[in-house]
Symmetry: C2
Subunit: 238 residues, 2 copies
Protein backbone atom coordinates (compact mmCIF):
# COMPACT_ATOMS: atom_id res chain seq x y z
CA UNK A 1 0.00 0.00 0.00
CA UNK A 2 1.28 3.40 -0.94
CA UNK A 3 1.51 5.67 2.08
CA UNK A 4 -0.60 8.78 2.33
CA UNK A 5 2.49 10.96 1.95
CA UNK A 6 3.59 9.29 -1.27
CA UNK A 7 0.06 9.63 -2.70
CA UNK A 8 0.17 13.36 -2.21
CA UNK A 9 3.39 13.45 -4.31
CA UNK A 10 4.93 16.12 -2.14
CA UNK A 11 7.58 18.32 -3.67
CA UNK A 12 11.00 17.93 -2.04
CA UNK A 13 12.54 20.84 -0.15
CA UNK A 14 15.88 21.12 1.60
CA UNK A 15 15.55 22.53 5.12
CA UNK A 16 18.64 23.81 6.94
CA UNK A 17 18.20 22.28 10.38
CA UNK A 18 20.52 23.42 13.15
CA UNK A 19 18.56 21.85 15.97
CA UNK A 20 17.58 25.25 17.30
CA UNK A 21 14.15 26.72 17.83
CA UNK A 22 14.07 28.74 14.58
CA UNK A 23 15.06 25.94 12.23
CA UNK A 24 12.65 23.47 13.90
CA UNK A 25 9.83 25.95 13.33
CA UNK A 26 10.98 26.45 9.74
CA UNK A 27 10.89 22.69 9.12
CA UNK A 28 7.33 22.58 10.52
CA UNK A 29 6.32 25.39 8.16
CA UNK A 30 7.80 23.51 5.19
CA UNK A 31 5.75 20.43 6.18
CA UNK A 32 2.61 22.53 6.65
CA UNK A 33 3.17 24.02 3.16
CA UNK A 34 3.13 20.52 1.68
CA UNK A 35 6.84 19.89 1.14
CA UNK A 36 8.70 16.65 1.77
CA UNK A 37 11.50 17.70 4.13
CA UNK A 38 15.12 16.81 3.35
CA UNK A 39 17.02 18.13 6.35
CA UNK A 40 20.62 19.32 6.16
CA UNK A 41 22.64 19.94 9.31
CA UNK A 42 26.20 21.17 9.32
CA UNK A 43 28.80 19.99 11.80
CA UNK A 44 31.02 23.05 11.46
CA UNK A 45 33.26 22.57 14.46
CA UNK A 46 30.80 23.87 17.05
CA UNK A 47 32.14 23.77 20.57
CA UNK A 48 29.50 21.22 21.51
CA UNK A 49 27.30 18.66 19.74
CA UNK A 50 24.02 19.00 21.61
CA UNK A 51 22.63 21.06 18.75
CA UNK A 52 23.27 18.30 16.21
CA UNK A 53 21.70 15.73 18.54
CA UNK A 54 18.67 18.02 18.72
CA UNK A 55 18.66 18.25 14.91
CA UNK A 56 18.48 14.45 14.69
CA UNK A 57 15.49 14.34 17.03
CA UNK A 58 13.71 17.18 15.25
CA UNK A 59 14.28 15.58 11.81
CA UNK A 60 12.75 12.33 13.08
CA UNK A 61 9.78 14.11 14.63
CA UNK A 62 9.12 15.95 11.34
CA UNK A 63 9.25 12.64 9.42
CA UNK A 64 12.05 13.99 7.24
CA UNK A 65 12.55 11.95 4.06
CA UNK A 66 16.30 12.49 4.37
CA UNK A 67 18.75 13.97 6.86
CA UNK A 68 22.36 14.65 5.94
CA UNK A 69 24.79 15.82 8.62
CA UNK A 70 27.73 17.28 6.75
CA UNK A 71 31.16 17.96 8.25
CA UNK A 72 32.61 21.34 7.29
CA UNK A 73 35.31 22.34 9.70
CA UNK A 74 34.88 26.13 9.73
CA UNK A 75 36.95 26.16 12.94
CA UNK A 76 39.97 25.65 10.64
CA UNK A 77 39.30 29.15 9.33
CA UNK A 78 38.88 30.62 12.83
CA UNK A 79 37.26 33.92 13.66
CA UNK A 80 34.31 33.01 15.90
CA UNK A 81 33.54 32.38 19.55
CA UNK A 82 31.26 29.53 18.44
CA UNK A 83 34.18 27.54 17.04
CA UNK A 84 37.21 28.97 18.87
CA UNK A 85 38.25 28.94 22.48
CA UNK A 86 37.30 32.47 23.41
CA UNK A 87 34.49 33.25 25.82
CA UNK A 88 30.81 33.40 24.96
CA UNK A 89 29.41 36.63 26.45
CA UNK A 90 26.83 36.24 29.25
CA UNK A 91 24.17 38.37 30.92
CA UNK A 92 24.31 41.12 28.32
CA UNK A 93 21.58 43.73 28.51
CA UNK A 94 19.16 44.07 25.57
CA UNK A 95 20.76 47.33 24.42
CA UNK A 96 24.19 45.73 24.37
CA UNK A 97 22.96 42.64 22.51
CA UNK A 98 21.38 44.73 19.78
CA UNK A 99 24.58 46.68 19.10
CA UNK A 100 27.01 45.60 16.40
CA UNK A 101 28.00 42.08 15.45
CA UNK A 102 28.73 39.76 18.39
CA UNK A 103 31.81 37.50 18.72
CA UNK A 104 29.48 34.54 18.24
CA UNK A 105 29.11 35.55 14.58
CA UNK A 106 30.62 32.85 12.34
CA UNK A 107 32.21 34.34 9.19
CA UNK A 108 30.04 33.87 6.11
CA UNK A 109 28.10 31.07 7.83
CA UNK A 110 24.78 31.45 6.08
CA UNK A 111 26.48 31.84 2.70
CA UNK A 112 28.29 28.54 3.30
CA UNK A 113 25.18 26.79 4.66
CA UNK A 114 22.93 27.96 1.83
CA UNK A 115 25.48 26.93 -0.79
CA UNK A 116 25.62 23.44 0.74
CA UNK A 117 21.81 23.37 0.80
CA UNK A 118 21.90 24.29 -2.89
CA UNK A 119 24.26 21.38 -3.60
CA UNK A 120 21.93 19.00 -1.72
CA UNK A 121 18.89 20.45 -3.50
CA UNK A 122 20.53 19.88 -6.85
CA UNK A 123 21.25 16.22 -6.13
CA UNK A 124 17.65 15.49 -5.06
CA UNK A 125 16.12 17.73 -7.78
CA UNK A 126 14.56 20.10 -5.25
CA UNK A 127 13.83 23.68 -6.26
CA UNK A 128 13.02 24.88 -2.75
CA UNK A 129 15.31 25.66 0.18
CA UNK A 130 14.09 26.68 3.65
CA UNK A 131 16.27 28.60 6.09
CA UNK A 132 15.30 29.91 9.52
CA UNK A 133 17.11 33.24 9.40
CA UNK A 134 15.57 36.08 11.31
CA UNK A 135 16.29 39.77 10.82
CA UNK A 136 14.49 40.96 13.96
CA UNK A 137 16.45 39.31 16.75
CA UNK A 138 19.69 39.05 14.77
CA UNK A 139 19.75 42.54 13.30
CA UNK A 140 23.54 42.61 13.72
CA UNK A 141 24.17 39.61 11.44
CA UNK A 142 24.74 40.65 7.81
CA UNK A 143 23.62 37.27 6.46
CA UNK A 144 20.21 37.37 8.16
CA UNK A 145 18.93 40.32 6.13
CA UNK A 146 16.23 40.08 3.42
CA UNK A 147 18.59 41.61 0.82
CA UNK A 148 21.10 38.84 1.53
CA UNK A 149 18.45 36.15 0.99
CA UNK A 150 17.30 37.84 -2.24
CA UNK A 151 20.91 37.97 -3.51
CA UNK A 152 21.40 34.29 -2.71
CA UNK A 153 18.23 33.37 -4.58
CA UNK A 154 19.49 35.28 -7.61
CA UNK A 155 22.81 33.44 -7.39
CA UNK A 156 21.09 30.06 -7.00
CA UNK A 157 19.23 30.67 -10.23
CA UNK A 158 22.53 31.03 -12.10
CA UNK A 159 24.50 28.36 -10.24
CA UNK A 160 22.97 25.02 -11.07
CA UNK A 161 22.30 22.62 -13.89
CA UNK A 162 18.58 23.20 -13.42
CA UNK A 163 19.06 26.93 -13.96
CA UNK A 164 20.90 26.31 -17.23
CA UNK A 165 18.49 23.68 -18.43
CA UNK A 166 15.52 25.95 -17.81
CA UNK A 167 13.89 23.91 -15.08
CA UNK A 168 11.82 25.28 -12.23
CA UNK A 169 13.14 28.41 -10.54
CA UNK A 170 14.91 27.92 -7.24
CA UNK A 171 13.24 29.64 -4.29
CA UNK A 172 14.89 30.45 -0.97
CA UNK A 173 12.18 30.48 1.71
CA UNK A 174 12.96 32.45 4.86
CA UNK A 175 9.55 32.36 6.52
CA UNK A 176 10.76 33.69 9.90
CA UNK A 177 12.68 36.66 8.56
CA UNK A 178 10.28 39.34 9.81
CA UNK A 179 8.90 37.57 12.87
CA UNK A 180 9.68 38.22 16.51
CA UNK A 181 10.83 35.33 18.67
CA UNK A 182 7.44 35.29 20.42
CA UNK A 183 5.62 35.08 17.07
CA UNK A 184 7.90 32.23 15.96
CA UNK A 185 7.20 30.30 19.17
CA UNK A 186 3.44 30.82 18.90
CA UNK A 187 3.38 29.64 15.28
CA UNK A 188 5.61 26.64 16.01
CA UNK A 189 3.43 25.66 18.96
CA UNK A 190 0.34 25.78 16.70
CA UNK A 191 2.16 23.55 14.21
CA UNK A 192 2.99 21.05 16.93
CA UNK A 193 6.74 21.67 17.27
CA UNK A 194 8.12 20.07 20.44
CA UNK A 195 10.50 22.78 21.64
CA UNK A 196 11.75 20.42 24.33
CA UNK A 197 13.74 18.72 21.56
CA UNK A 198 15.46 21.88 20.40
CA UNK A 199 18.77 23.26 21.61
CA UNK A 200 19.50 26.98 21.70
CA UNK A 201 22.34 27.66 24.17
CA UNK A 202 25.78 28.73 22.92
CA UNK A 203 27.50 27.43 26.05
CA UNK A 204 25.77 24.45 27.71
CA UNK A 205 27.41 22.40 30.49
CA UNK A 206 28.75 18.89 29.90
CA UNK A 207 25.28 17.39 30.34
CA UNK A 208 23.88 19.71 27.67
CA UNK A 209 21.95 21.87 30.15
CA UNK A 210 21.52 25.40 28.77
CA UNK A 211 23.28 28.23 30.61
CA UNK A 212 20.27 30.56 30.42
CA UNK A 213 22.54 33.60 30.23
CA UNK A 214 24.12 33.78 26.77
CA UNK A 215 22.48 35.96 24.10
CA UNK A 216 20.75 32.96 22.53
CA UNK A 217 19.27 31.71 25.82
CA UNK A 218 18.14 35.20 26.78
CA UNK A 219 16.38 35.73 23.43
CA UNK A 220 14.69 32.37 23.72
CA UNK A 221 13.48 32.88 27.31
CA UNK A 222 12.23 36.37 26.51
CA UNK A 223 10.40 34.93 23.47
CA UNK A 224 8.58 32.32 25.52
CA UNK A 225 7.71 34.90 28.17
CA UNK A 226 6.32 37.30 25.55
CA UNK A 227 4.37 34.49 23.88
CA UNK A 228 2.89 33.58 27.26
CA UNK A 229 4.06 30.00 26.81
CA UNK A 230 6.15 27.71 28.98
CA UNK A 231 9.65 26.89 27.73
CA UNK A 232 10.04 23.11 28.20
CA UNK A 233 13.84 23.45 28.61
CA UNK A 234 15.58 23.42 31.98
CA UNK A 235 18.25 26.08 32.55
CA UNK A 236 21.25 26.26 34.87
CA UNK A 237 20.26 29.76 35.98
CA UNK A 238 16.81 31.06 36.88
Amino acid sequence: MISQRAEKAERPAVVLLSGGLDSATTAAIARRNGFAVYALSIDYGQRHHFELEAARQVARSMEACGHVILDVDLAQLGGSALTDAFDVPKDRADAEMSQGIPVTYVPARNTVFLSLALAYAETIAAADIFVGVNAVDYSGYPDCRPEFIAAFEQLANLATKASVEGQRKCTIHAPLIDMTKAEIIRLGTELGVDYGMTHTCYDPNDEGISCGRCDACQLRRKGFAEAGLRDPLVYQSK
Copy 2:
Protein backbone atom coordinates in the same frame (compact mmCIF):
# COMPACT_ATOMS: atom_id res chain seq x y z
CA MET B 1 65.51 42.77 8.74
CA ILE B 2 62.01 43.05 7.31
CA SER B 3 61.63 40.97 4.19
CA GLN B 4 61.02 42.63 0.85
CA ARG B 5 57.50 41.21 0.74
CA ALA B 6 56.58 42.65 4.12
CA GLU B 7 57.97 46.06 3.11
CA LYS B 8 55.67 46.16 0.11
CA ALA B 9 52.73 45.66 2.50
CA GLU B 10 50.92 43.41 0.08
CA ARG B 11 47.15 43.15 0.32
CA PRO B 12 45.92 39.67 1.22
CA ALA B 13 43.85 37.70 -1.27
CA VAL B 14 42.26 34.27 -0.97
CA VAL B 15 43.05 32.07 -3.98
CA LEU B 16 41.03 28.90 -4.55
CA LEU B 17 43.73 26.37 -5.38
CA SER B 18 42.67 22.97 -6.66
CA GLY B 19 46.13 21.91 -7.75
CA GLY B 20 45.11 22.05 -11.40
CA LEU B 21 46.56 24.09 -14.21
CA ASP B 22 43.98 26.86 -14.10
CA SER B 23 44.16 27.58 -10.38
CA ALA B 24 47.99 27.51 -10.39
CA THR B 25 47.94 30.12 -13.15
CA THR B 26 45.38 32.14 -11.20
CA ALA B 27 47.60 32.12 -8.11
CA ALA B 28 50.53 33.35 -10.23
CA ILE B 29 48.35 36.18 -11.56
CA ALA B 30 47.38 37.18 -8.00
CA ARG B 31 51.10 37.29 -7.07
CA ARG B 32 51.93 39.30 -10.22
CA ASN B 33 49.15 41.75 -9.30
CA GLY B 34 50.80 42.36 -5.93
CA PHE B 35 48.64 40.26 -3.64
CA ALA B 36 49.82 38.12 -0.75
CA VAL B 37 48.34 34.70 -1.56
CA TYR B 38 46.28 32.81 1.03
CA ALA B 39 45.48 29.54 -0.69
CA LEU B 40 42.34 27.54 0.03
CA SER B 41 41.96 23.97 -1.20
CA ILE B 42 38.91 21.83 -0.63
CA ASP B 43 39.06 18.14 0.08
CA TYR B 44 35.53 17.40 -1.10
CA GLY B 45 35.69 13.65 -1.34
CA GLN B 46 37.45 13.48 -4.68
CA ARG B 47 38.15 9.96 -5.87
CA HIS B 48 41.89 10.59 -5.55
CA HIS B 49 44.20 12.96 -3.63
CA PHE B 50 46.86 13.73 -6.23
CA GLU B 51 45.23 17.09 -6.90
CA LEU B 52 45.54 18.15 -3.25
CA GLU B 53 49.18 17.05 -3.17
CA ALA B 54 49.71 19.21 -6.26
CA ALA B 55 47.95 22.10 -4.48
CA ARG B 56 50.43 21.81 -1.59
CA GLN B 57 53.39 21.99 -3.97
CA VAL B 58 51.94 24.89 -5.94
CA ALA B 59 51.17 26.85 -2.74
CA ARG B 60 54.77 26.41 -1.59
CA SER B 61 56.17 27.42 -4.97
CA MET B 62 54.02 30.59 -4.94
CA GLU B 63 55.26 31.46 -1.44
CA ALA B 64 51.69 31.47 -0.14
CA CYS B 65 51.35 33.22 3.22
CA GLY B 66 48.76 30.65 4.25
CA HIS B 67 47.27 27.42 2.90
CA VAL B 68 44.15 25.88 4.38
CA ILE B 69 42.98 22.48 3.16
CA LEU B 70 39.38 22.19 4.25
CA ASP B 71 37.38 18.96 4.43
CA VAL B 72 33.88 19.24 2.99
CA ASP B 73 32.51 15.86 2.14
CA LEU B 74 30.37 16.67 -0.89
CA ALA B 75 30.37 12.95 -1.69
CA GLN B 76 27.81 12.63 1.14
CA LEU B 77 25.41 14.57 -1.10
CA GLY B 78 26.22 12.48 -4.18
CA GLY B 79 25.46 13.39 -7.76
CA SER B 80 28.87 13.46 -9.45
CA ALA B 81 31.30 11.13 -11.19
CA LEU B 82 34.13 13.01 -9.44
CA THR B 83 32.98 11.87 -6.01
CA ASP B 84 30.88 8.77 -6.74
CA ALA B 85 31.71 5.39 -8.12
CA PHE B 86 30.42 5.85 -11.64
CA ASP B 87 32.75 5.97 -14.64
CA VAL B 88 34.64 9.01 -15.87
CA PRO B 89 34.09 9.28 -19.64
CA LYS B 90 37.15 8.78 -21.86
CA ASP B 91 38.15 9.58 -25.45
CA ARG B 92 35.20 11.84 -26.09
CA ALA B 93 35.32 13.85 -29.30
CA ASP B 94 35.41 17.68 -29.06
CA ALA B 95 31.83 17.99 -30.24
CA GLU B 96 30.64 15.56 -27.58
CA MET B 97 32.64 17.30 -24.81
CA SER B 98 31.16 20.68 -25.65
CA GLN B 99 27.58 19.43 -25.41
CA GLY B 100 25.59 19.70 -22.21
CA ILE B 101 26.82 19.23 -18.66
CA PRO B 102 29.09 16.20 -18.14
CA VAL B 103 28.75 13.64 -15.33
CA THR B 104 31.94 15.06 -13.82
CA TYR B 105 29.99 18.20 -12.84
CA VAL B 106 29.82 18.49 -9.03
CA PRO B 107 26.51 20.03 -7.88
CA ALA B 108 26.91 23.68 -6.87
CA ARG B 109 30.68 23.19 -6.47
CA ASN B 110 31.80 26.72 -7.26
CA THR B 111 29.05 28.22 -5.10
CA VAL B 112 30.28 26.11 -2.18
CA PHE B 113 33.96 26.82 -2.88
CA LEU B 114 33.46 30.57 -3.25
CA SER B 115 31.40 30.74 -0.06
CA LEU B 116 34.21 28.98 1.84
CA ALA B 117 36.70 31.38 0.25
CA LEU B 118 34.50 34.22 1.49
CA ALA B 119 34.58 32.80 5.03
CA TYR B 120 38.39 32.53 4.86
CA ALA B 121 38.66 36.05 3.40
CA GLU B 122 36.57 37.40 6.24
CA THR B 123 38.77 35.85 8.92
CA ILE B 124 41.99 37.27 7.39
CA ALA B 125 40.37 40.62 6.48
CA ALA B 126 40.89 40.11 2.75
CA ALA B 127 38.61 41.87 0.26
CA ASP B 128 39.83 39.94 -2.78
CA ILE B 129 39.11 36.39 -3.89
CA PHE B 130 40.67 34.75 -6.95
CA VAL B 131 39.09 31.78 -8.71
CA GLY B 132 40.30 30.04 -11.86
CA VAL B 133 36.95 29.47 -13.52
CA ASN B 134 36.88 29.46 -17.28
CA ALA B 135 33.86 29.91 -19.50
CA VAL B 136 35.55 28.91 -22.76
CA ASP B 137 36.54 25.30 -22.14
CA TYR B 138 33.81 24.64 -19.58
CA SER B 139 30.91 26.21 -21.38
CA GLY B 140 28.62 23.49 -20.06
CA TYR B 141 29.18 24.32 -16.39
CA PRO B 142 26.64 26.82 -15.05
CA ASP B 143 28.96 28.05 -12.30
CA CYS B 144 31.78 29.01 -14.67
CA ARG B 145 29.83 31.80 -16.36
CA PRO B 146 30.57 35.53 -15.97
CA GLU B 147 27.01 36.18 -14.79
CA PHE B 148 27.48 33.62 -12.00
CA ILE B 149 30.67 35.33 -10.83
CA ALA B 150 28.95 38.74 -10.92
CA ALA B 151 26.04 37.39 -8.86
CA PHE B 152 28.43 35.91 -6.30
CA GLU B 153 30.27 39.22 -5.99
CA GLN B 154 26.96 40.96 -5.34
CA LEU B 155 26.11 38.37 -2.67
CA ALA B 156 29.56 38.70 -1.06
CA ASN B 157 28.98 42.40 -0.66
CA LEU B 158 25.87 41.71 1.42
CA ALA B 159 27.12 38.66 3.30
CA THR B 160 29.94 39.76 5.58
CA LYS B 161 30.70 41.95 8.55
CA ALA B 162 32.91 44.08 6.29
CA SER B 163 29.96 44.74 3.98
CA VAL B 164 27.81 45.91 6.89
CA GLU B 165 30.55 47.96 8.47
CA GLY B 166 31.23 49.75 5.18
CA GLN B 167 34.73 48.45 4.65
CA ARG B 168 36.36 47.90 1.27
CA LYS B 169 34.22 46.24 -1.37
CA CYS B 170 34.76 42.53 -1.95
CA THR B 171 35.97 41.67 -5.45
CA ILE B 172 35.79 38.25 -7.07
CA HIS B 173 38.62 37.99 -9.59
CA ALA B 174 38.18 35.42 -12.35
CA PRO B 175 41.12 36.37 -14.56
CA LEU B 176 40.91 33.27 -16.80
CA ILE B 177 37.22 33.48 -17.52
CA ASP B 178 37.54 34.50 -21.18
CA MET B 179 40.85 32.82 -21.99
CA THR B 180 41.44 29.69 -24.05
CA LYS B 181 43.49 26.89 -22.48
CA ALA B 182 46.41 27.77 -24.80
CA GLU B 183 46.31 31.42 -23.66
CA ILE B 184 46.23 30.36 -20.01
CA ILE B 185 49.26 28.09 -20.50
CA ARG B 186 51.21 30.81 -22.35
CA LEU B 187 50.49 33.37 -19.63
CA GLY B 188 51.32 30.97 -16.81
CA THR B 189 54.57 30.00 -18.50
CA GLU B 190 55.52 33.70 -18.74
CA LEU B 191 54.76 34.06 -15.03
CA GLY B 192 56.98 31.09 -14.20
CA VAL B 193 54.33 28.53 -13.27
CA ASP B 194 55.82 25.04 -13.11
CA TYR B 195 53.06 23.01 -14.74
CA GLY B 196 54.92 19.82 -13.83
CA MET B 197 53.58 20.36 -10.31
CA THR B 198 49.95 20.59 -11.36
CA HIS B 199 47.46 17.75 -11.62
CA THR B 200 44.62 17.77 -14.14
CA CYS B 201 43.42 14.19 -14.72
CA TYR B 202 40.01 13.06 -13.44
CA ASP B 203 41.06 9.40 -13.35
CA PRO B 204 44.78 8.83 -12.71
CA ASN B 205 46.26 5.41 -11.91
CA ASP B 206 47.43 4.44 -8.40
CA GLU B 207 50.77 6.16 -8.94
CA GLY B 208 49.05 9.40 -9.92
CA ILE B 209 49.93 9.11 -13.62
CA SER B 210 47.32 10.91 -15.73
CA CYS B 211 45.13 8.86 -18.04
CA GLY B 212 45.46 11.29 -20.95
CA ARG B 213 41.98 10.40 -22.19
CA CYS B 214 39.41 12.01 -19.87
CA ASP B 215 37.93 15.39 -20.84
CA ALA B 216 40.32 17.26 -18.51
CA CYS B 217 43.45 15.54 -19.89
CA GLN B 218 42.31 16.07 -23.46
CA LEU B 219 41.68 19.79 -22.90
CA ARG B 220 45.07 20.18 -21.24
CA ARG B 221 46.99 18.35 -23.97
CA LYS B 222 45.22 20.29 -26.71
CA GLY B 223 46.03 23.53 -24.84
CA PHE B 224 49.75 22.78 -24.69
CA ALA B 225 49.75 21.74 -28.35
CA GLU B 226 47.99 24.95 -29.40
CA ALA B 227 50.34 27.04 -27.24
CA GLY B 228 53.29 25.35 -28.93
CA LEU B 229 54.67 24.37 -25.51
CA ARG B 230 55.73 21.05 -24.04
CA ASP B 231 53.50 19.60 -21.31
CA PRO B 232 55.88 18.42 -18.56
CA LEU B 233 53.43 15.72 -17.42
CA VAL B 234 53.75 12.08 -18.39
CA TYR B 235 50.54 10.32 -19.53
CA GLN B 236 49.47 6.67 -19.60
CA SER B 237 48.34 6.99 -23.22
CA LYS B 238 50.11 8.77 -26.08
